[in-house]
Symmetry: C2
Subunit: 335 residues, 2 copies
């Protein structure tokens, strides 16, 4: 059973998951695959994953058969497990609880060789709809307080499988990083009576220099205080605190802008490893006036070293305005 | 001129340092060196670094000549620069200031091939004395609020030079990570009227399971909520908030325990890359009842991926108690 432990100084939680140390580090590079490397996420291999919890696009609804477009399965080497009680307890001054949660894999395409930037708008829309449907389903479990969805693309970004996929982790606590955003947004709201993200969007649209792309519903920016070259954030232009509140037309718009964003990234730094993370309001809350959901995209071009570990300061060797300009330019070239 | 920018949501600062992008990524592996690779930190090459700000062990005091044991020079590719005003200013909702600060390199030994665990106690003591003397000297500059000292060892921990060295960065703001510790410690102190770190030491000495080594003045632990395998923290056993308050005998004790700690680490995971970071109280403050200085040691055995980026949660595949046991055991083997 994994264990959640809380650092008594910072309040940061860690998952102690010894079982996960045993998982095969099976990063399959393209060459290996064509030489017959085995991919557990490919169609035809549905039997080797745990039974699916969602599949879209399969003409006949036979679970764990092929023919799907997007498929969601529990992680075979989960960081947290779904069965059991939290059993919150102390150990002197320390706090811990059982490692209860959900850990799922969203298989984004049946094609082993496709990356997100190569998928069509409709295919990308299905991925985001799968995110939404899994969040809604897991929200019914009152043990969970937060659901994070993230993607590791490329070995140096932590991917252990090449086949395009993202992951979902449902947590029994609101993570520090999210709480920090919520606290910051609330402080701003208390002072200004406006959403900080809405104000950022307003100012960025006036300045224009950090915009990568934009459509009716969404905007992609290089943040003013970017931590790394080509860091981006995708946000709905109108206030919305929860990812799951999106309308059908917003899903379509999000797929469009996300496709363009990832195409821009790939054409400027081809084949780059990256992480993206969906930040949305915690579960079991109504819409929040002060928080605004968004997707952070972090290309892996710099190293986290002692300075970053020790301070949470980041040294970015590039100007966000110049990153945005070259990303914008690359989009125009393709049009 | 580098620029400091503040994220309006989280308050996190970044350094935008375009000039640093141009620095040669000159990680010299041992093979290269013996093949005649050039090391700017080696004795005889003093002329290629900026003029030294400190040197110990040189029999005759001729600056920038050889014969030194520990030498401190300004970083040739500094993240922050020392000349100028902060010029704090806004840009709409954003905050920024000039990238004013100090960035120095502490060359820990004249021997290109020695790692810290191979140095004698007296040599290690000189390194810590150099840290102290540089902190005291830079504390006189009222523009600086915090000084962080850290070490990147090994390419995957962000080292760009093989020759054993650590770095110092003086900052015009207290970093988020330190503020988080200060806030957490103050909350604990308000409630308990005791230092949280002192309570941790008390409990750890009673339990014993997470102790790596210990002497009269210092203790090394694997933290209860370790973020990564073999993470360690070194702390003075008696309350002390500022690194610079150490007595002479404490410097000797620290050198002893640090030597043992690094020997343990190296014998369990030989040649591992790691970072260490010195966390001490902010500048221009008297001793704090609620804060306790310490050195965090983070071996680089796991990858920071989307989950960690997105949540500040960490997944640790090993049990801190087992890590401490094998580190302790390795020390006994050597005795």
């Amino acid at each position: 059973m994994p264990e959640l432990r809380r650092d008594p100084i910072t309040g940061r939680w860690v998952i102690i998951a010894q079982e996960r140390g045993n998982r095969p580090y099976d990063f399959i590079v393209e060459e290996d695959k064509t030489k017959g490397g085995f991919c557990p996420l490919c169609p035809g291999n549905e039997g080797v994953t745990p039974p699916e919890v969602l599949a879209y696009g399969r003409p006949e609804n036979i679970p764990d058969s092929d023919g799907w477009q997007v498929r969601v399965v529990p992680n075979k080497f989960p960081a947290l497990i779904i069965e059991g009680d939290l059993n919150k307890r102390g150990e002197g001054i320390y706090d811990k609880m059982n490692g209860i949660g959900a850990h799922e894999v969203i298989i984004e395409t049946p094609d082993h060789h496709s990356n997100i930037y190569q998928l069509g708008h409709h295919e990308i829309e299905l991925i985001f709809r799968a995110y939404r449907d899994r969040i809604i389903d897991l929200s019914g479990d009152r043990r969970f307080r937060y659901i994070i969805i993230f993607k590791n693309h490329g070995k140096s970004a932590g991917a252990s499988l090449e086949h395009s996929h993202s992951q979902l982790i449902a947590l029994p606590v609101v993570p520090n990083r999210i709480q920090e955003e919520l606290d910051g947004c609330l402080r701003y709201y208390d002072y200004k009576e406006r959403c900080a993200f809405c104000d950022i969007i307003h100012q960025e649209r006036k300045q224009g220099t950090r915009i990568v792309c934009e459509n009716d519903e969404f905007i992609t920016l290089c943040p003013f205080a970017s931590r790394a070259p080509f860091e981006m954030v995708v946000m709905p232009k109108n206030h919305q605190s929860r990812f799951v509140s999106m309308t059908d037309s917003q899903f379509t718009s999000l797929a469009e802008i996300f496709s363009e964003t990832m195409k821009c990234l790939n054409s400027v730094v081809h084949g780059v490893s990256y992480n993206y993370m969906l930040h949305t309001a915690p579960l079991h809350q109504n819409s929040l006036q002060y928080y605004h959901w968004h997707i952070e995209i972090m290309p892996k071009l710099t190293t986290i070293a002692g300075f970053e570990w020790g301070t949470e300061f980041y040294i970015n060797p590039s100007l966000p305005e110049e990153c945005a300009r070259s990303l914008r330019g690359s989009s125009n070239q393709e049009e």
